[in-house]
């Protein structure tokens, strides 16, 4: 009487995956497509699809004398660790995937690493937590710069040129918020300023007036937005300006300028200094943005180019290794790539000092000032410093 669901399910899944004329390389996308992190997850999935399309149109990925059609399989992890584990199981054991783009969140990446590392599956994650990269996790890479990399150079530049002294900040009470709070406090102290006011709040909170009131009363001259989802950052700016705050607003990490301007409006965001991993004027970045705009109608999230480069770095590593199956070789080749011309500019790996392994992409990034809702590049930066 009970429908043997498990039998029905496994037969359905096993039937797929018949061999086409060319071989197929499946790229897994373990991303957040619903809830707060949806904007970032969507950007990463689209980046993988664009990279795959480009390779397929050029006749397929040429590795070891064989041509591969690249297929992207995407599942939603709902920004939750348990769901991410189930999706990882499905990708690794059912879809037999050896390369995964994602996950977005820090908790999900920590949860799936026992599976991906043991099965030697190469993972390109966005997870901000410093614990994502370490010596005993050889198969995990991070193509996007995080607070740990960008905060120090940018904050040094901001303190030097904008004369920021006392900074106040609001952080969500989740793994990303707690991680970024630590990084920023250290960075501001080293730069000669101070981050005396730190407030943590429930992730889906919408009313920040009480917290802002307390912060403004402490006489801060800048508000730091890093660590908040785009919509939340927008509301903080909106409500701070509504409370009559005229001081500086900075966001030294997590690209979300377009979303912040949408929520807070042009006037409130005028003169805001933001981190941006992309310089729209750079030809390679502009080319990717045009490709993205042509294919998807909603606005492109700032992390998308990083994962477009991540996918291309993977393809390059496979070409050099001459194999798609032996991820041990592909990993070794991937680590050796440097001076790669990606959408974000000249790319190489870094992170030995910070994480014990060079699996953190060192891409150029910029400090921009928001003028009339648009980003105007003010400084070009690398891990060493900003000019």
């Amino acid at each position: 009487m009970k429908i043997p669901h498990i039998v029905l399910l496994s037969s359905v899944l096993a039937a797929g995956g018949g061999a086409q004329a060319q071989d197929t390389l499946t790229l897994g996308a373990l991303v957040t497509l619903s809830g707060a992190g949806a904007a970032w997850g969507q950007g990463m999935k689209n980046a993988a699809e664009i990279a795959a399309d480009q390779v397929n149109k050029a006749g397929g990925l040429d590795v070891g004398g064989r041509k591969y059609q690249v297929k992207v399989v995407a599942y939603d992890d709902k920004y939750q660790a348990n769901e991410a584990v189930t999706v990882a199981n499905r990708l690794v054991f059912e879809d037999k995937v050896k390369y995964i783009i994602g996950p977005v969140g820090s908790a999900p990446v920590l949860a799936i690493q026992p599976i991906t590392e043991k099965n030697r599956v190469i993972v390109m994650t966005l997870g901000f937590t410093a614990k994502a990269l370490s010596e005993d996790k050889p198969y995990t890479f991070r193509p996007n710069v995080t607070t740990a990399e960008v905060s120090q150079p940018q904050i040094d530049w901001l303190v030097r040129t904008q004369g920021i002294k006392k900074v106040g900040a609001l952080f969500p009470n989740d793994e990303t918020g707690q991680q970024i709070a630590q990084d920023l406090e250290a960075a501001y102290k080293k730069a000669g300023a101070k981050l005396p006011v730190k407030e943590f709040f429930e992730r889906d909170r919408v009313d920040f007036v009480p917290l802002l009131t307390r912060m403004l009363a402490r006489g801060i001259d800048a508000i730091e937005l890093d660590g908040n989802s785009p919509a939340t950052a927008g509301m903080i700016v909106k409500q701070a300006r509504e409370l009559g705050y005229a001081g500086k607003i900075v966001r030294t990490g997590g690209p979300a300028t377009q979303e912040i301007v949408n929520v807070a409006g042009k006037a409130a965001t005028q003169g805001m200094f933001v981190h941006t991993p992309i310089d729209p004027e750079l030809p390679s970045t502009k080319a990717y943005m045009d490709l993205y705009a042509a294919r998807y109608k909603h606005s492109m999230n700032g992390f998308s180019p990083a994962f477009y480069d991540g996918a291309n770095l993977l393809f390059e590593a496979m070409r050099r290794a001459g194999t798609v199956d032996d991820t041990e070789k592909v990993r070794a080749e991937l680590e050796r790539i440097s001076g790669f011309e990606g959408a974000l500019g000249r790319l190489g790996w870094t992170g030995k000092a910070m994480y014990g392994i060079d699996h953190q992409l060192d891409a150029p990034f910029y400090v921009a000032e928001v003028q009339d809702g648009k980003e105007v590049i003010r400084a070009r930066c690398t891990v060493e410093g900003c000019r």
Binding site: D204, R205, G234
Partner: protein
């Protein structure tokens, strides 16, 4: 740290937020009063109200007040239809009725997610700038919303006290059996009660859309606040909800002034649990334990 400024500012914030919570909760407590049903879909009607205001103002370029009125009417009709169509079998079954509204909430939120997408949208603010109330600083946009909220609550009070259907509804809230004996046909007042509850939630959503962003996920927080206000005030008691909403706004405002943000949230849940155990009827409610 200028404590007097902080105290006045916290009080003003607390009262404003308290009023917003009242607007969120009044529909919820009405539905429980009329149908003795905990409406888990209340937050989703708030969300749909926010989208209604967004599309009518940004899309159809209607004036804000017209948008709010149309959103209310739409939600009233929609709510009544949903009660009649989906919730009718559960009218006298508190527990299954509550579970049914959980199902309804999932359907509404995900339909919105399908049509409107996950990204938060932003409405043009109702008003710019800041007004000073003595020492305290209040964003003008919030003052407008507070004024509208008071207007809505006054209208509701008038409806319940003076109009015939309103008085009948209050009778039903008072005592179902007696109301039925007096010939008040429950067939009519269940959909009306639920529809009014949904309409009030939608109005709250519409009024607060310009203050906060609009997305399919905005329903969670208001449902939580409505829960807390109604438990403290007493299930089914509108005056109780009013007192409790103000208290919650002030306690939250002061707590977040003195304690770290999340400790304040924990404090409030602890108070709610204590209240439910020590005084399940709530401050002014007469729900039985």
């Amino acid at each position: 740290m200028d404590w007097t400024f902080l105290a006045t500012q916290a009080t003003v914030n607390g009262l404003i937020v308290g009023l917003l919570y009242l607007l969120m909760a009044v529909g919820f407590t009405l539905v429980f009063g009329v149908m003795r049903m905990v409406n888990f879909a209340h937050g989703e009607f708030y969300m749909l109200g926010a989208f209604g205001a967004y599309f009518l103002v940004s899309g159809a370029q209607l004036p804000f007040m017209a948008a709010v009125a149309i959103t209310f009417a739409g939600a009233l009709a929609g709510g009544a239809l949903l009660e009649w169509g989906v919730l009718k079998p559960f009218r006298r079954d508190e527990l299954n009725g509550m579970i049914a509204t959980i199902g309804l909430a999932m359907i509404l939120q995900n339909l919105a997610l399908m049509f409107f997408g996950p990204d938060p949208l932003s409405m043009p603010p109702v008003a710019e700038g800041v007004t000073r109330l003595g020492k305290a600083v209040v964003p003008t946009a919030r003052l407008y919303v507070v004024v509208f909220a008071c207007a809505v609550l006054a209208l509701l009070y008038g409806f319940l006290r003076f109009s015939r259907p309103g008085r009948a509804l209050r009778a039903v809230v008072e005592d179902m059996e007696i109301a039925a004996i007096q010939g008040i046909r429950s067939r009519l007042y269940y959909p009306l009660g639920f529809g009014l509850g949904a309409g009030l939630a939608a109005v709250a959503g519409a009024l607060m859309a310009p203050l906060f962003s609009v997305s399919p996920f905005v329903g969670g927080a208001p449902l939580l606040k409505a829960f807390i206000v109604v438990i403290l005030g007493g299930l089914g008691s509108i005056p109780g909800a009013a007192v409790a909403a103000m208290l919650l706004g002030l306690v939250e405002s002061y707590a977040s002034l003195l304690l770290a943000g999340s400790t304040a949230d924990m404090l409030i849940f602890a108070i709610v649990m204590a209240m439910l155990v020590l005084r399940p009827k709530g401050l002014l409610g007469r729900g039985e334990a």
